[in-house]
Symmetry: D2
Subunit: 114 residues, 4 copies
């Protein structure tokens, strides 16, 4: 992971879009929709699998490639969304984990997921 | 962004789930569904906005907070999904950008987004 | 079901939106997004359930109400989407079933769902 | 619409699945996921369109066909979901419209969509 950093990938994505004149499409509204479409394409891979089959999805090279490809698409739109709105995704997640640690103290948390 | 790295956040998320005995819920199938649910909560913020209104969403502190919060949720489930399947999300995205640069050469790319 | 017909519900939805001056929000693009947001709210109810738990969801009155409520929201946006685009949803489905019966003959269909 | 009724379509969908031994896949959880995947395929058609372009989507025969096809898929999974859980979708929607008419009286409703 050391070789790829979020800021560098975000820059490559921005240059890619600019070189193709695609920035006009990249409103926050459209990028959020595209993100959700890609997340659904990830769901589609798993939709008829049992929980056990879903855990073995990387054992088959074709489905492993498909999963990695959809992960890339989700991350691409998430980073582009953050780019156009000036959001630091990693800082947002760190702040959220801080809040959740206060909100759901480990000792008291129900074992049933809320 | 320097202070927060993907690997560190992934570790915190794994510890958070383990301390609450939530790993049993974290099948790849469930995490993909949760990711798409969070992506839709991001879409919901924008669903009735015009493209122009969507571009100003960070100007209002409440909606800015809500957007950051949903970004954090999407990234949290994406990283947990990658963790359980052993996927390096940043490497997957770097590989995808490489493929897209070959597939859609800038000079020949249609200005209309495919 | 005899008392409620699709055309009547579609008319009530159209009148409801018109009386509140909400037609301005109901572009096909926005209604498709709203439909997908409601579908995800249905998914959310099931996201951490096992397949077996998911089959018993109507046994609890609260979750039964929540499920019916989300079904209503999905159908509401589907019918409003069809209304603004002049699509007959039932005819579209009938035509699709006809096509699928030709495309996947029962005798030859793989038992594994495509 | 007179020729196609919801109950009849629901029966055809059930027979179609039974003849292919696909009922095993049709847990409520899986059908909700499939519904959201199809709703996202509808969103995908509109994701880069302006609101104005989205209103003209039926003018092109190819995209009109694609839209009708996705509407059929959404409705198919919604009806199959309702079938396995014994939900009357039209009654659920009628009850929801009743509730919404009480909750958002036309005269007092904000013109801004909540």
């Amino acid at each position: 992971m050391a070789e790829h950093d979020v800021a560098g990938l975000q820059r490559r994505l921005a240059e890619f879009a600019a070189a193709r004149d695609w920035e006009q499409y990249h409103t926050p509204k459209n990028l959020a929709a595209a993100l959700s479409v890609e997340a659904s394409e990830l769901v589609e891979i798993f939709q008829w699998l049992t929980p056990e089959e879903s855990a073995r999805v990387m054992a088959d090279p074709d489905s492993a490639h498909r999963v990695r490809d959809e992960v890339a698409d989700v991350l691409a739109y998430l980073l582009q969304f953050c780019e156009v709105l000036g959001i630091d995704a990693l800082a947002a997640l760190a702040a959220k984990i801080d809040r959740n640690e206060r909100r759901f103290p480990a000792a008291e948390s129900p074992r049933e997921k809320p």
